[in-house]
Symmetry: C2
Subunit: 522 residues, 2 copies
């Protein structure tokens, strides 16, 4: 869809090293490096320490997240080529109490893949082989370091596709996708990774290799351990291999943009669309008027004429993917006719893509919102799950709360209605403590009161550790901690991410000035 | 599809009380009963102990599994009405070290839902309310004790359906379905419960209530704890509530039976069918010739004429479910034309159902195999996952191994090809130690060598604890144990199921005479 570029440094980079981890974890020494060099080739070690003494530029990209918000102080990056090498590295770090940060494409949006201090970065990029693919079952087994887009390219001649797609696909790696439970653009159709990931190979903090890399669609033999690692953001172990069910490529795709007179029509519309398109519905994306206008203003496309936009409160982009184009088009056309011929129509107008170029330009409008936002000003971005019926209310409450606040340029909402996932953006001329303190914890408290999620698809990382309590109750957090301590008693795996140390909130206060700029998954 | 009836007692009932558990667990006393009576009404307690002194017939059904293979010695059944009551029961049993068996519809096939000794049965049948349903998102929240079919009936007017369907649907409960990670007839289309279950409410062995009953399609905030309970067979806690994503009811369904000249054609056929039917394919079921002939012999239907059956090595039943009947029929007809017009056709013949009655009769043939098997003789039944390409080989190897063995009447194979799930049945005039010892551990070893699963959908229960090692390696089993011990340090939850006690295999030898008679999920 779009490629990831490293954004300019919008945030002052901060050193996030939690004091408690600093006390319990050990810094790397030259004798540790000697040990790694005993089984890794020179090309698998990047280190600013002697005897390697690589320049700081060699290690810079591993210490910085792509938003330019977080800055680690790692001296050393290890790039193993095999699961056994990963195991040796992890075992040694565990014995010595050295912190480790597993890193895939480093495209995460919550600071989960860069060190908070001087942990060793364990980059999976050298493990990038497809291990097997069975065209009959569609089951693909791949090294964790395979780039998502490379896997899509690999599957193309076999007429299969990856069950997930994100903006970061050109850089992100399948292991990182699984570790962060990436959502993205195909979730409505193909479901979450908890369903499509069939097996994992994981190096545990002990150095043990957990071989749960089954290629079976069904296996009811005991606890499904792999599920724990899906979405654990590298805090329980290092994913080294992934077995995933890939669907056949749909033979035809189409889309339509609908202009709605009122937000209240979105839900009944979603019901009609689901019922009438059924199994070919593959996306149902919502944009409020502000999002649409902003995208048009910044040249992200103009899907509808001014007449057609007149009186529209919001817009919906519907995509179909099916086995036969003429069947899908007939269903779409009938849907439009039904919608327009109703006594009280749910839509003002609808435009059906007539060509691949029009198909792309409708998507460009939806996907261009993020770009448009960044052209307009600084953005406070929230990725929340709330009931579909509350989307507009939350946007309006936020507008109301920030009315007349200096520097606020606008509040817009858009997102994956089909998944209940709202992207709420507050655009300002600059980041200010006033705006930040009006937004948090107020917004998280409101999301919590709606039994929503403060992170629908981006994860917790280092950014939202302080806010976990708004989505998970004390019992859940307590058991998460127990699981963490069971797998990783020394706390070496991705310290400072997901869960705060038990003894106190040492990172909370510094983390409240906003949620960064993020576009990879939106 | 069919209803569950309690089979005649084909197996001598055995008392399975593991000695190790007997040492560590406590039997219920009258003061425990007094305690339960302090917060439960009389109607929620069934007990043969004073002061209740119910007759043995009141408790019999809770002590026996429906196959009539396992027999518990519970004196007391508790039937709480609320999650808080469950919590109080569990907390007390944990303090006192009293074993507990959570029981749903008691339709399991591996002895997982009846006591192995005198544990208390915790029946969820009194918790049977739908808590909420959102017709827009399709998300249903229900008490664990809701019967699967009741939920289907509830959803019908809302034009939604449950994402799973099994033979036992008239008795099985959604909590039990989730606890056993039930598969069934809709898995190919709607995926596994790991994907469709969105949230769970679980009473942990400590008595704590884990409220992970989210109604969000996406929530990336920490470890996905609920996944551990899906398929844990009541050994980690008591599921009391389920949030599940339900799909819209397809507006049209159709099916076709295909006769194939050779097994080797099944896989290319599956590829063609997947590619040409795409999103409307909802079942792809395979029967070998023996299964077909047996079903016909025992009056389970005759889908094809003798001419059509001539020269067929095996059969495939394909079902479609889609949004518009005429589109689906066109795709099916085109598929048949393509298959029959090929230079070297993959099929000999194909019969498309022309009416709802024909649709049902094609399914009756597939579903009637189990019934036919039970009419033919005693059955050793295996529910395994192996690569699709190995289905026939495993059937043939088993035939070869049992050739000329006294009492063996036949070996047949059928199952969910789409899921890689083979049901292998060995039919004999009676159960004999010779046959049993020829089958196990040989078959499990072979499944293991194919990286398969010894239990695709039935679970481990009490029946297959000794065989877990054939599907899971030592590292996996060790971590399962650690998880069990973390959640349930006293081992009160469903003792003797899934994992054997660490100190030794006290149940292994008695368990090797076969895998029972089972039809609910096949």
């Amino acid at each position: 869809m779009y490629t990831i570029t490293r954004a300019s440094r919008r945030f002052p980079r901060r050193n996030l090293l939690p004091k408690l981890y600093a006390r319990s974890l050990t810094s790397l020494t030259s004798s540790d490096l000697d040990h790694f060099a005993s089984f890794l080739p020179r090309t698998s070690i990047i280190s600013t320490m002697a005897p390697f003494s690589d320049g700081p530029e060699a290690i810079a990209q591993y210490n910085a997240d792509w938003m330019g918000k977080y800055q680690g102080r790692a001296t050393t990056v290890l790039r193993p080529r095999t699961t056994e090498e990963v195991s040796k590295i992890v075992r040694h770090c565990n014995e010595r109490g050295i912190g480790l940060v597993p890193q895939g494409g480093n495209t995460g949006l919550v600071g989960g893949s860069v060190p908070v201090g001087d942990e060793v970065v364990l980059s999976l990029g050298n493990m990038s082989k497809v291990r097997s693919f069975d065209p009959v079952s569609g089951i693909l087994v791949a090294d964790a370091g395979c780039v998502l887009e490379s896997l899509s390219d690999y599957l193309q001649p076999h007429a299969h596709l990856m069950p997930l797609d994100l903006g970061a696909k050109g850089s992100c790696q399948i292991g990182g996708n699984v570790a962060t439970n990436a959502g993205g653009l195909r979730l409505l159709r193909y479901g979450s990774l908890h369903g499509s990931v069939l097996g994992l190979e994981v190096v545990l903090p002990s150095g043990q290799i957990l071989n749960a890399l089954t290629t079976l669609r069904k296996d009811n033999t005991g606890y499904d351990l792999k599920q724990l690692f899906i979405g654990s953001e590298g805090t329980l172990g290092v994913i080294t291999g992934v077995s995933i069910l890939t669907p056949p490529i749909p033979r035809a795709s189409n889309n339509v943009i609908l202009a709605l007179p009122r937000f209240e029509n979105v839900l009944p519309l979603f019901g009609e669309v689901k019922a009438r398109l059924g199994e070919i519905l593959s996306a149902f994306e919502w944009l409020d008027r502000g999002s649409y206008d902003l995208a048009v203003k910044h040249g992200q496309g103009r899907a509808l004429s001014e007449d057609e936009v007149e009186g529209a409160a919001c817009f919906v982009l519907v995509e179909t993917s099916g086995g036969r184009g003429e069947h899908d088009e007939e269903k779409l056309t009938d849907l439009l006719e039904f919608l327009l011929s109703a006594d009280t129509p749910l839509i003002n107008t609808g435009v059906l893509a007539q060509s691949p170029a029009q198909f792309s330009s409708l998507w460009a409008l939806r996907e261009g919102v993020t770009e448009a936002v960044s052209k307009e000003g600084k953005a406070y971005k929230y990725d929340i799950s709330i009931p579909l019926s509350k989307f507009e209310e939350v946007v309006n409450m936020t507008k109301e709360r920030l009315k007349n606040v200096e520097g606020v340029l606008g509040v817009i909402g858009y997102g994956h209605v089909g998944d209940g996932n709202l992207h709420l953006n507050i655009i300002a001329s600059s980041y200010t403590p006033t705006i930040a303190s009006l937004l948090e914890p107020w917004l998280y408290e409101h999301v919590s009161s709606l039994n929503g999620s403060i992170s629908a698809e981006h994860g917790i990382g280092a950014m939202k550790t302080h806010a976990l309590k708004y989505s998970k109750d004390e019992v859940s957090i307590e058991w998460m901690r127990k699981i963490k301590e069971m797998f990783d008693p020394k706390g070496i795996m991705n310290p400072g991410k997901v869960l705060l140390p038990r003894e106190g909130n040492v990172m909370g206060e510094g983390e409240k000035e906003g949620s960064g700029t993020a576009r990879a998954q939106e």
